[in-house]
């Protein structure tokens, strides 16, 4: 259906975006690539080109690799929890529920709130001696947990905060995907006498899978970037137990102004993430996500 004038139009539509991104985003990108090959000391010494020294140092920096492994664990934990909880609650909401819209609205709240404010809220909630979290546990006779000061609990706390904030995104998108499945698909199954669980497993989930996976991809990308909650909640501690890659990059690159090294870490991280995503997207395409 396209005619000639379309071919100019199609560039008029896409070029502004690409040009804007190129002009604005390409400089910082190139500059950070350049920085990763140099060392910037404020003052007289200024910027020195040092080749691959930063990357060489990085290879032996156990703090970075530890942080990277920790980040992968964090992202994986988030995605799994949010995926399961999101799907589960969406499946519950999909039914004919009274007060559905109230549930939906209230579920929506967390994801639009400022992570800084949210982090403060959880800082108060997970306070060891004055927080409701430990008070709640005490009601069940469970010993208080060092939510913010034990190595493993602090990590789990971060996961809980993100699950609280971003599971709603999963719930609502997955719910929409479920509700978008044409009714006829179910009718056949109901006539066959299939049980609800089976219907969900055989029809609902597979049909919604492309959107579910796309949403998961978006969440995964964002999950790598967690920063605000660490900044307020744990500061990366205790020890290094909640020091994820981005926080470490921030400490090195901004706090200590070791810009070159920070940039080198960012590029290595990016490279590793892209490898992971490439595999992920390839499998996504196979099941029909990313239309």
């Amino acid at each position: 259906m396209t005619d000639r004038s379309d071919s100019t139009m199609k560039y008029i539509f896409i070029v502004p975006v690409l040009a804007y991104i190129l002009v604005i985003a390409i400089f910082p990108l190139l500059f950070s690539l350049f920085l990763s090959l140099s060392r910037w000391t404020p003052g007289a010494r200024g910027l020195e080109f040092i080749g691959l020294d930063n990357f060489r140092a990085l290879a032996g920096d156990s703090r970075f690799w530890e942080a990277f492994r920790r980040t992968l664990g964090y992202v994986l934990a988030l995605i799994v929890f949010q995926w399961i909880l999101g799907t589960f609650i969406a499946a519950l909401l999909q039914k004919n529920i009274k007060g559905k819209s109230i549930f939906r609205v209230c579920y929506m709240f967390p994801m639009l709130l400022s992570p800084i404010a949210v982090a403060y809220a959880f800082k108060m909630i997970f306070d060891f001696s004055r927080g409701p979290a430990n008070h709640f546990l005490r009601l069940f006779g469970v010993a208080p947990v060092e939510w913010l000061s034990g190595s493993t609990p602090a990590f789990i706390t971060l996961v809980i905060v993100d699950v609280w904030q971003w599971t709603p995104f999963m719930i609502l998108t997955i719910l929409a995907a479920f509700e978008n499945i044409p009714q006829q698909m179910y009718e056949a199954a109901v006539v066959d006498g299939a049980k609800p669980f089976r219907i969900f497993w055989r029809i609902t989930l597979p049909l919604a899978l492309p959107i579910v996976m796309t949403v998961t991809l978006l969440r995964t990308i964002d999950a790598f970037k967690v920063f605000d909650t660490i900044y307020i909640l744990t500061g990366g501690g205790p020890g290094r137990s909640t020091e994820l890659v981005n926080f470490y990059i921030y400490l090195v690159g901004f706090r200590a102004f070791n810009l070159g090294y920070g940039a080198a870490m960012s590029w290595v991280q990016l490279f590793l993430i892209i490898i992971i995503f490439t595999y992920y997207i390839r499998s996504l395409k196979r099941i029909g996500g990313l239309r």
Binding site: P42, G236, G237, A256
Partner: protein
């Protein structure tokens, strides 16, 4: 429904565009104002920046509106890094800084601040009225580079009524086999006393109380709270060595002392204190330390001075019940020259000036250094500063001898004479102590302390690493950092920091 969304969308857009236009107009209009604006970069209020905003109008009046002061505020965790990025990019955003004294060497290294000696020479009160410890902190490379308006050091806060309770003293004697001093004199004694007062209701309010409070959250910044534990064990007394207060590195080689037995011992005791003398949880911030003391839940703390003024607030339940004293010492120290422990007959005190204080600087990018100094001089004048150090919400601790003589403003702000005098004395004593350790002033100070040491300290406190193990890592990383920044240059800076003349 669709039109509604359309309307909402367009209203939002319209408002946004309108606001953009309005600010553009305001900004453009503001550009042609008459007064020259001097930008001061400092901490978010009310503390530290509050007094500037309180007094600026008076100074501006003096200049008949020719100059005005604009306070730019940053949050503490990123205050240093923000100055750093401004300095590195050569931006002329700031005319004056009121930031950490400990960062002086970094600023000097970047050529970002100007020496103030030629101005200070004309201040007739400076040589006599400023205590020597503060003069030392103001000086670097033989020049005055910064002027302290808030004199920070760590000292001991204790409940005079609780520690002085004879019944408790007797019980302590029965349990521990000796009588404690009020206040405790050594860190070991402090731990015993803290343990004794930990976990029961000594205040009679129906709640269990704690013996000691300290900061145990990474990056809060907890490292400052560890120095009072390290210093007595690792600082060689001033009469045994030419240069006093050496704690971080060996001056000639920059070999880190961080994993020396003195540090290890100090931090092992700190860890012991946290296990025996404090409440559970390990998530305390500075707010917890201050509030637990002023609400009467904790018996002792080692902190910067702020607990004193906070104890006058409405919420405080300890008005007039706090004692102030030198941070406890030790009976031994590690001599890093001979690699052996030396026992001392008397208690060996070595107070730590963690952070050193808030200090005025003039940037090298300002076009009005003389005017800037005029403002600083105004803020530091006896009239203004003697009020500021007494105002509870200023966050300033006394630094002039005349502050001790003139307690009038203190009484006006709710202090009783005895508390005020002992408080001022505690601050000045710690400052003037010959063994006092001035917080590290060499380039990369924040990286040495916060990025590296603070993290390992956190591992020690939570018990996930032994002190030796964690401090060995610190020493390795400090060495690597020194090499990266240039060992020879760093040695030179370290000598300037210690006041060693080459």
């Amino acid at each position: 429904m669709k039109t509604k969304i359309l309307r909402t969308g367009s209203i939002i857009t319209a408002i946004a565009l309108l606001l953009v236009v309005v600010t553009a107009v305001v900004l453009a209009g503001g550009r042609e104002e008459r007064a020259v604006t001097l930008n001061v970069f400092t901490l978010t209020g009310p503390f530290i920046s509050g007094p500037i905003e309180r007094h600026a109008a008076e100074w501006e009046e003096k200049w008949e509106g020719k100059y005005e002061i604009n306070v730019i505020q940053g949050a503490f965790p990123d205050l240093f890094s923000q100055v750093q990025s401004v300095a590195a990019t050569g931006s002329d955003r700031f005319d004056m800084l009121l930031v950490g004294n400990a960062w002086m060497a970094d600023f000097v290294g970047w050529d970002y601040i100007i020496p103030l000696s030629r101005y200070v020479e004309n201040l007739d009160w400076y040589p006599d009225d400023v205590v020597d410890g503060v003069v030392a902190k103001n000086t670097f490379k033989g020049e005055t580079y910064g002027l302290i308006c808030d004199n920070d050091n760590m000292f001991l806060f204790y409940r005079t009524d609780i520690l002085g309770n004879e019944e408790y003293q007797a019980r302590f004697r029965d349990e521990y086999g000796y009588s404690y001093n009020t206040p405790p004199q050594t860190l070991k004694e402090l731990i015993d006393v803290a343990e004794f007062f930990n976990g029961w209701d000594w205040s009679g309010d129906g709640q269990d109380n704690v013996g000691f409070v300290t900061v145990t959250r990474r990056g809060n910044p907890q490292f400052m709270y560890s120095y009072p534990w390290v210093a007595p064990f690792s600082v060689i007394p001033h009469d045994e060595i030419d240069t006093a207060g050496v704690m971080f590195f060996e001056p000639e080689t920059m070999r880190p002392l961080a994993n020396s037995p003195g540090w290890v011992k100090g931090l092992e005791l700190y860890h012991e204190m946290i296990e025996r003398g404090t409440g559970p949880g390990l998530d305390w911030t500075r707010g917890d330390v201050i509030n637990e003391i002023i609400l009467g839940h904790a018996a002792m703390a080692i902190d910067h001075g702020d607990i004193g003024p906070e104890s006058l607030s409405d919420a405080s339940r300890v008005q007039g019940k706090l004692g102030f004293a030198m941070s406890p010492g030790s009976n031994e120290y590690w001599d890093w020259r001979t690699n052996e422990w030396v026992e001392t007959e008397e208690v060996h005190y070595a107070p730590a000036h963690s952070f050193n204080g808030w200090s005025w600087y003039i940037t090298s990018t300002t076009e009005h250094p003389d005017i800037a100094f005029d403002f600083i001089e105004f803020m530091l004048s006896e009239r203004i500063s003697s009020i500021d150090v007494a105002v509870p919400d200023s966050g300033y601790q006394p630094w002039r001898r005349s502050h001790a003589d003139n307690v009038g403003p203190w009484l006006d702000h709710g202090w009783d004479r005895q508390s005020a005098e002992s408080y001022i004395q505690a601050v000045l004593d710690s400052t003037e102590h010959p063994n006092a350790v001035v917080d590290l002033r060499i380039p990369g100070s924040a990286e040495y302390s916060e990025t590296i040491y603070d993290v390992s300290l956190s591992s020690i406190i939570t018990g996930s690493q032994s002190a030796q193990e964690a401090l060995d890592e610190v020493a390795t990383q400090w060495d690597a950092l020194t090499d990266r920044l240039g060992r020879d240059e760093q040695i030179e800076f370290y000598h300037h920091h210690l006041g060693i003349d080459d």
